[in-house]
Structures are given as C-alpha cells and as structure tokens.
Assembly symmetry: C2
Homo-oligomer: 234 residues x 2
C-alpha cells in the first residue's frame, strides 16, 4: 500500500470514528482522543489530518454530502420523471440515515445547535427538493392550484421530521414510513397521468429493497453509496 | 407580596432565564451561574428551587408542556370539529414556538441529544395528533383509502420539521407556512363535506391573528397562553 493510500485510509477511519463519537456524545462533549483511539491511531496522527475538532466535523459533513450527491446522481441517470427521482432520493436518504453513522452525524452537525458545519446538508436537501419540483413543473406533472412553495415546504419539513424523529426511533426512517408519506402526498402534487406512473415505494422497491441497487464501496469504505461526483449538486 | 408569591415569582424568573440560557448555549454548556444571574438572584436562591441543572431543564419542559395543554384545552372548548381543532392547535403551537423561549427550549430539551427531559413534549404532541385523528374518524370526517397511521406520521413529521427548521429561520413557523401546509394536507385527510367547513388558516385567522384570542398571562408571567389544566392531555 502506498503512503498516499495509507493516509486516505487513516483519514476515512478518523471520519467514521468521529461520526460515531459525535453521535454518541454530541459535538461539544466529543473528545479528540476518543476519535483518534476509535480509529486506531494517535492524536498526533489525527492532527496530521485535521487542525481541530471543527475541521473534523466539517470533514464528516462533507463526506455525508458527498454520499448524498453520489446517490442522487445515480438516481438522476435513470432518466425517470422528476417526481419519481424525488421519491427515490428521499428513500435513499432515509436508507443512508438508517445505516450510515457518517450521514446521521453529518445532518446533526450541519443542522443542530449554534455551530453549523459546512456544507449545510439541510440547505442542500432543500435546494434539491425545490429543483426537482421545478423540473416536475416543466414536465407538466404538477397539479394546478397548489403553490410549489407549499409543496416544497411540506416535503422538506416532513423529511426533516423523519430524520429528527428517526434518531430515537429508526422506524421513522423505514421504507414503510416513507412509502406511506408519498402515498399520502403524491396525489396532492401530481396530475392523474403522472400519478399513475409513480411508485411511492421508490423505483427500487420491486428489487432488492430501497436503495439496494445503489450500494457500492464509498471513498470511506463504509457500506455506502458510490460514485462520487463532487461537481454535481446532490 | 407574600413569601409564597415571591417564591413563585423567583421560580418563574429562573425558568425563563434557564430557557434563554439553554437556547443560547445548549444544555451541556449552560452554566447555573448564568441562569441565576439572568433571573436576578444568587445561585443559592437557584438551589433553593432546583437540585441541579437536570431539575431546571425538567421544570422548563414541564412549563412548556403546561402552556401547550392550556392552549389545547381552550381550543377544544370551542366544540369545533376535530380536524379544525388539530389545525388550530398546530397554529397555536407554531405561535408559541415563535414567541416563547420556554416552549422552544422545552421542545429542544425534551427532544434533542442523549438527555431527554421529562415530560417529552414531542411524544405528547404525537399522542395529541393521533387522538384528534381518531376523533375525526369517529365524526366521519376522514377520507377512505388513506391509512390513519400515515396521516398521523405525515402531520407529526412535518410539524417536527417546522419546529426544527424554525429554530434558524422563524419564517417556517409563520401563519403562512402553517396555512400552506394545511391547504396542501387537508384535502388528503377530509371528506368533501368536512373539508368545506375547515379553515386551514386556523379558526382565529379572521380575528386578531392566529392564537391571539388565546393570549393571557401565564403562571410564569410571560406573554403566553393561560388556564393551566394540569390533568388534561394537551
């Protein structure tokens, strides 16, 4: 293994360890010694990669953002409708939040408390929802008489709620919960012809379960989504 | 002023000061000295009322719960339909979250992080939403073909999202945001005859603004909702 590969592995191990420590103790009480020992390295090795705790937190948020962008790009490549892509991505986000501590910690770090890590995952998710609704409007898929702003707000608020409530009870992030939400919501968004083509359980539901078709090794080696495309919006 | 009245005033001042300190610094970093000085009393006076920081946090959550139960009882006394009462109470909750630091801190304390203050406000709100939907079903107001569990989950998730997102941007808690949400949601919940009678802006909207008709002095003297009824579910 080259020196470069070893450094990348250590950095990823530190990010994964930091996510677990942030999730368990919160940002304020997270100790760098605990993060480095969780990654099996010295605090000196941690400081080689990160200047301070804020830099570690930013790296966790960046890795979570990258995972989300990657899965979103993969879904967009299917060339499905915008509303199906929105539904599928929300399922994939819930799946990430259920299974990946880096995504969970990234959302908490970038959203809670006074300290906000960059990138702000919740702001990115809001932009993504708005963009897909704009696309759905261009496709002629949205009903008349309902404000697009209200649609976006309801979807962003509900998915934020699923994320927050799922911290204590993962059932909120189950495919059933998300499917139930879209079964309720899609008839208020889509015209009948578009609605008939939509699957509230996500386009992956008939296969190996939501998001499973998207699984691959990520940069940080966790069982995560693949294909980083750092230039794309997630 | 009697000794008893002075003690009640001090306790309330401590609760209001604690809410402000918890909101600003978070529970972990909140210092008791800051809470007592904010209330204009010594730390000794604080310890006369509260054993430790956890007891202060529990008192903040209890006061927030009491405000919510009070406003809910007041709304229920109007004998409107269950769906209108649910809509009105969500507007009143948003109004409390916008204007009252004790309610905001109570929700954060009872919901975030590892430490959960009792009462758990979010669990209370979930029970309340489920109960009103059950009542709406008894009234024959709910549409067929949509699961009541999915309705409750969508409402709880979205209102949780409004609360969390409103911490950074109060616009999420504005009457417009809540009204937009109910305009989108109610047609998926209510049969046409029930829908025709519902006001998504809340029954107070035509008057002095959402919730204004409910305002009065609270036990803790803030500009809050009145009529404590500790035995009722909020």
């Amino acid at each position: 293994m080259s020196k470069q590969e070893r450094a990348t592995r250590t950095r990823c191990a530190l990010i994964r360890s930091a996510a677990a420590v942030f999730e368990r103790h919160g940002y304020v009480q997270a100790r760098l010694a605990l993060i480095s020992s969780g990654a099996g390295v010295s605090t000196g090795a941690l400081h080689f990669h990160f200047e301070n705790k804020a830099a570690v937190a930013a790296a966790v948020a960046a890795e979570a953002s990258r995972s989300l962008r990657a899965v979103s790009c993969r879904i967009r490549r299917r060339k499905s409708t915008a509303l199906q892509a929105l539904t599928d991505t929300s399922h994939a986000l819930a799946d990430l939040l259920r299974r990946d501590a880096v995504t969970r910690a990234g959302f908490r770090l970038s959203c809670d408390g006074d300290r906000i890590a960059e990138p702000d995952l919740r702001a990115e998710w809001q932009s993504f929802v708005r963009e897909l609704l704009d696309e759905a409007a261009d496709e002629g898929a949205l009903v008349d008489g309902v404000s697009r702003k209200d649609m976006a707000a309801a979807i962003v608020a509900a998915t934020t709620g699923f994320e927050v409530l799922g911290r204590r009870d993962p059932e909120w992030l189950s495919p059933y919960s998300l499917t139930g939400f879209w079964q309720l919501m899609l008839p208020r968004l889509a015209v009948p012809e578009a609605l008939a083509l939509l699957n509230p359980a996500g386009a992956d539901a008939a296969g190996a379960g939501p998001g499973m078709g998207l699984l691959a090794e990520s940069v940080c080696g966790a069982s995560q989504y693949s294909e980083p495309e750092p230039t794309a919006r997630f």
